[in-house]
Subunit: 231 residues, 2 copies
């Protein structure tokens, strides 16, 4: 198999928490045991034409494997999961349900988590921020309650750990340690179980080692919430 190259930032927008979406791809590659190279971008390079050709939205990650160039973390995790055993069950129905949870993470859960980050961080200094926050928190709580009810006391969402869990844990990580998730101990334990996996730890170590650039001032002024504070 051709060794893939992923694109990532050499700086952290989140005080070293590793929440940028290349972490999902790194984690997936570690789970299936595939080696990879990293092309690092410094601040601003993500919006330049050379990277826009890889990712039209001027973001990371991108993924290159020979002639194949992909963007969108969900699609890259999918491609990695198909390339080697470890992230999809072998039976077709189980595989379909793992894919179901991939889409659920990215389309039904991440947007409500992200809306909290918008409300608290991106729009946090706006006049309306405090007044709007309870509405956003209520929408997130409703979705987390449903997810918590479905997970129940299972370790993972559907049988063994899958690409669906990898993405669901990833989209919940921004609210790890926050009041928003504290009401759902099974979800907190689920996230903890995910990031305790050796593959996640390896990915996080490599990600950390790649952080050689300066955090841009724009991010230093509006840092995403540190762990332990309300998200």
């Amino acid at each position: 198999m051709t060794m893939p190259v992923i694109t990532a930032y050499n700086w952290s927008p989140d005080r070293g928490r590793g929440l940028v979406r290349d972490m999902r791809v790194r984690w997936a590659l570690e789970e299936v045991g595939r080696a990879y190279d990293v092309r690092y971008l410094s601040w601003g390079q993500q919006k330049e034409p050379a990277h826009r050709a890889r990712n039209p939205f001027g973001q990371v990650p991108a993924y290159e494997e020979g002639d194949l160039v992909l963007f969108e973390s969900g699609a890259i995790v999918f491609h990695v999961a198909e390339s080697a055993p470890g992230l999809f069950p072998e039976d077709p129905a189980g595989r379909s349900r793992a894919i179901e949870w991939m889409f659920a993470a990215l389309n039904s859960v991440e947007p409500v988590v992200w809306d909290l980050i918008i409300a608290k961080i991106i729009e946090g200094d706006r006049d309306w921020a405090a007044a709007r926050l309870p509405v956003v928190e209520a929408r997130l709580a409703s979705r987390l309650e449903e997810l918590s009810a479905r997970l129940g006391d299972s370790d993972w969402l559907d049988g063994g750990f899958s690409a669906g869990d990898l993405l669901m844990v990833s989209v919940l990580r921004p609210i790890e340690g926050s009041d928003a998730i504290a009401k759902y101990p099974n979800l907190e334990a689920y996230v903890a179980r995910g990031i305790a996996r050796p593959a996640f730890k390896r990915a996080f170590e490599k990600w950390t080692a790649g952080q050689t650039g300066e955090t841009p001032a724009a991010f230093a002024q509006h840092p995403p919430q540190p762990k332990g504070e309300a998200a």
Copy 2:
């Protein structure tokens, strides 16, 4: 092949525009030429345990095909696209890029479109709604500009029509005819091209024929934006 059964509402939350997510699944089934049955839910039934067992978020669509039960429209469209030719290219790289656009539609474009719907409809009567709107509109415009630049003068996002286009057109439909998309004539033409497809038209006709229930008062009071008005 087992005939699938999809779950849909028998009422319209959007004055008959057919924006609910079962439309994506119907459209996909029509594209690949598969017959299907519909299980209709009246208002409130989507939150009852019988449907929660199919869809933990208490929403439509759900998809049943023999023993396989799936929720999440992206995952169902994926399953349909794998089940019969018509929505994925045959070459593996082209298929990976079609999947890339599926995830891009649902994770990078739909959330910013949906944020506009939240700002204008769901939170439209809040004190902060007018002040916040320009921020939301700017975020959407930025993403649409990037999408427009990538599409250029192509008919579809990557070669022939694929499941990626089906979902991208679907997530853009809520802003069809609005000021938000009017600045990007190629995106407007792209949406028009999508909904002009015979498979879309068949899906829309069947969806319309299934609308036999009353629109709940909550939706009659806060109807999604009609076509032609700013979204």
